[in-house]
Amino acid sequence: MQITVTVNGVEYTRDVEPRLLLVHFLRDELGLTGTHWGCDTSNCGVCVVLLDGLPAKSCTVLAVMADGHEVRTVEGLAGADGLDPVQQAFSDMHGLQCGFCTPGMLLTSRALLDRNPDPSPAEIREAISGQVCRCTGYENIVRAVRAAADRAAEAGTAAGTVTS
């Protein structure tokens, strides 16, 4: 079946089997391997991408369900003027160790800050509660998201999104 999916602003048209999962479409068809693939059972959240702006576990979405929709992956976070503030903050605050959970964590954090530019630590924990960090780096992840929010507030950009 032919589908057209907009990924990070670029339209991709491909012929796919209906049973192809979105995570494999992104990784294997489009070569966007920044989206990781872990438990395969919708529990770990490493496969999280933004589907029409909302975090979704791409191992539990069929590629055909994304036909005509917009997907944002970790590759789409950095803008022309550098890293997304959330990426920069993860780097600065040691919000990652092995990096396996990081793409999903970054996208959920981005979506959270777009909706709520000043989240409390509890709200951050709630937002990432469907995602597992095997390096147990939650403290630093929460600090990183808070740091991204603080810097955006200082810079006066309400949501802290890189305008590219």
Partner: protein, 291 residues
């Protein structure tokens, strides 16, 4: 790598179209809503539909409204949308209580209210919520629409009254004054299914219980209900002792089974305790003493 077996894929453009597609493809076809129960089951080959009929484009099923004294929830309302709904939360705070602990925020962006009910997993939280609220399911088929009380909707684990060529379109809950509601769940960790959970909807007349609805999750309660405990409470004073006794009755009549989430006696204990806690909280809300 877990991959579903091959299937055909169709996209419905209206409810009537979905019904027509179900007719065309027959009993081996399945509706696809959020896919967060069905796709995992297909990956494990616990479900092997020959055709999936995607209903995600049916915006007509995505509304939450208050009409004719009823709260109407479209089948395709996502968990996250129900949780965020001001009108649903204002009239029935138990929706918020329950949604907060259904899966995790990412899953809640996809899973739907209708999919939850139709999946009919004995651990599904909304089934108990709608049971407590005595909600009514609106089902559409070739011959038009019919309504079924949620208390008659489930015919067994993973089985509902929705026929092979029917679709659940809406769930309705009548709004009555003087009420309060609450849902309490114990889970092993954030995002997990319930070890046990209980919901209560309570209507007070002065300090008496004018009406009450109870729902139990994951403890083998017949139709997710606790009718004996409801019977005991109706007309009784809304006291702490009576709430505890109602919990005891609810616990006595459910049939939990031991599994990885806990032993039978623990789940039975929870059924009673959580029923009492939900009743207490529902009463406080009915009295306007708690949000």
């Amino acid at each position: 790598m877990q991959v579903p077996a091959q299937f055909e894929y169709e996209r419905a453009t209206s409810v009537a179209h979905a019904v027509a597609l179900l007719q065309r493809y027959g009993p081996e076809s399945r509706l696809l809503a959020g896919g967060h129960s069905l796709i995992p089951m297909m990956k494990l080959r616990l479900a092997n539909p020959e055709t999936l009929i995607d209903i995600n484009g049916l915006d007509e099923l995505r509304t939450i409204s208050l009409e004719g004294g009823e709260l109407r929830l479209g089948a395709l309302v996502r968990h996250a949308e129900l949780m965020a709904s001001a009108v649903a939360g204002e009239h029935f705070p138990m929706f918020r209580d329950a949604e907060r602990v259904i899966a995790d925020p990412v899953v809640r962006n996809r899973g739907t209210v209708g999919g939850s009910l139709c999946q009919a997993d004995p651990n599904e939280d909304l089934s108990a919520v709608f049971t407590a609220l005595r909600a009514v399911a609106v089902i559409e088929g070739v011959d038009g629409r019919r309504t079924v009380p949620v208390r008659e909707f489930h015919v067994g684990p993973y089985q509902t009254v929705v026929g092979d060529t029917e679709i659940l379109v809406e769930i309705r809950v009548s709004v009555r004054p003087g009420g309060g509601s609450a849902y309490t769940k114990v889970e092993r960790r954030a995002g997990d299914w319930a070890v046990a959970a209980a919901g209560a909807a309570l209507w007070l007349e002065g300090e008496r219980v004018a009406d009450v609805g109870l729902g139990l999750t994951a403890v083998g309660a017949d139709h997710f209900g606790a009718p004996q405990a409801e019977e005991f409470l109706r007309g009784a004073p809304a006291t702490e002792e009576n709430f505890a006794e109602a919990g005891r009755i609810a616990a006595e009549h459910c049939r939990p089974v031991a599994d990885q989430r806990g032993p039978e006696d623990y789940k039975r204990h929870l059924a009673g305790e959580l029923t009492a806690r939900s009743l207490r909280r529902a009463a406080a809300r009915a009295r306007g003493r708690e949000a």
